[in-house]
Symmetry: C2
Subunit: 260 residues, 2 copies
Amino acid sequence: MQDKTYNSAINLLLQHRSIRKYQDKTVPDEIIENIVQSGQQAAFAYQAYSVLLSREKEKHPFHAPLYFVICIDFHKIGKIMETKNWKVIMNDLSCMLLGMQDAAYMAQNMVIAAESLGLGTCYIGSVPYYADKIAERLKLPQKVFPLVGLTVGYPAENPPTRPRYPLEFVLFENEYPELDKNAVNRAKKEMDDGYLSQNYYRNLNAKLGLIGDREETFDYDSYSWTEHISRKLGQWEPSTKRLLEQLEKRGFSFKDTENE
Amino acid sequence: MQDKTYNSAINLLLQHRSIRKYQDKTVPDEIIENIVQSGQQAAFAYQAYSVLLSREKEKHPFHAPLYFVICIDFHKIGKIMETKNWKVIMNDLSCMLLGMQDAAYMAQNMVIAAESLGLGTCYIGSVPYYADKIAERLKLPQKVFPLVGLTVGYPAENPPTRPRYPLEFVLFENEYPELDKNAVNRAKKEMDDGYLSQNYYRNLNAKLGLIGDREETFDYDSYSWTEHISRKLGQWEPSTKRLLEQLEKRGFSFKDTENE
């Protein structure tokens, strides 16, 4: 390990872990405003986002006191353009690509701001697959797409930080290297040993089943990160259809056609 | 303005502005490692990213000492899965949606870490449109897509923070509201007055031309944010084609078919 130029902000970033248990303690309004305004100050292309807040904790993932749904929003900007006699003709894929970044940079700033105030957070990544139901509940207009959920509240658990790939498997200088067997195995080992030593999947009881002819040879002494993500990426959602339909219902089409 | 529960991390987030002029001063290795490791600790679905670093500043936007290209990466994870006799069958659109978030959350953490160390940054959002050229230069394998560029270095300018929408135009509780004329006009005014008072577009000499029959009625006393983004979203990139081609060249297809 080399010398590190840590400071309090970097320590905050390095201490991140998702929180899935929350205290039954209200988060004050001014803290909510701080968090969202910190999000807004992230770099943007079009500020193409909106943040929907719910405080009905019994309805939230993990019964978190706050649940934000961060949306990509081209409705709002359309409203502004309308007053100037313009309309959006940029294709929906480009809008999505930039809007998704606007929304994601803003969401990540919200996470950092919340954690700096002693709050815990967890992203809910399945939101786009239920975009139609969420849109109905939140009365989202066309051209607003729910990208990700975010639970926020005071933590009622104190889990360790989770392992990450070794830096050599992430940061490449000048060109993307041939990844030899040793580099791949080091990355696997770092992730698998790390999650096993924390009993992560055992504690969450999160082993995924096998589809088809594959025989189960893993128990919680061996089931770890690379097995878990292999079962997700190797078995789930082979078709684009579900997501394309959700996007189309919200007014985003990736077909090779022009807007208007 | 209500009382704010600011702290040093939130102050850092609220002080963000993009930096487009850099000192000719080297950024030490350990700081680069800090920044990328801070990025890695962001929440992820699959750690589906790689970061390509260049220090050849004469080739970079704004001649910044460091230029990172943050990529969505499903090559690496495929390599890991291969050793376990698995392959990615998840459709490319789902991979993109989650990989883009992995990469964006990581990139935003890099920005925060860099700024906490006194560095300035600027995202380069045009990268996906030149994915083929970038892939060639960086020798990116298939299933690696360059999402965004990030310039980093010690600032040689000290611009003010830029305006954002009023909070009431971003944060909505329970449901998305009808946006009445007044709310739209307040948001417009906040953005336009703010950028005008900073002479932002005049200083950058960044007025965009008009395509077709529209008559120019703006000069730098009136040309501001809403006009600028209207000219982008209202005139540019009507077709999905260019971006779909770039994605397909990198091995990502959004057609309604299954992988394999």
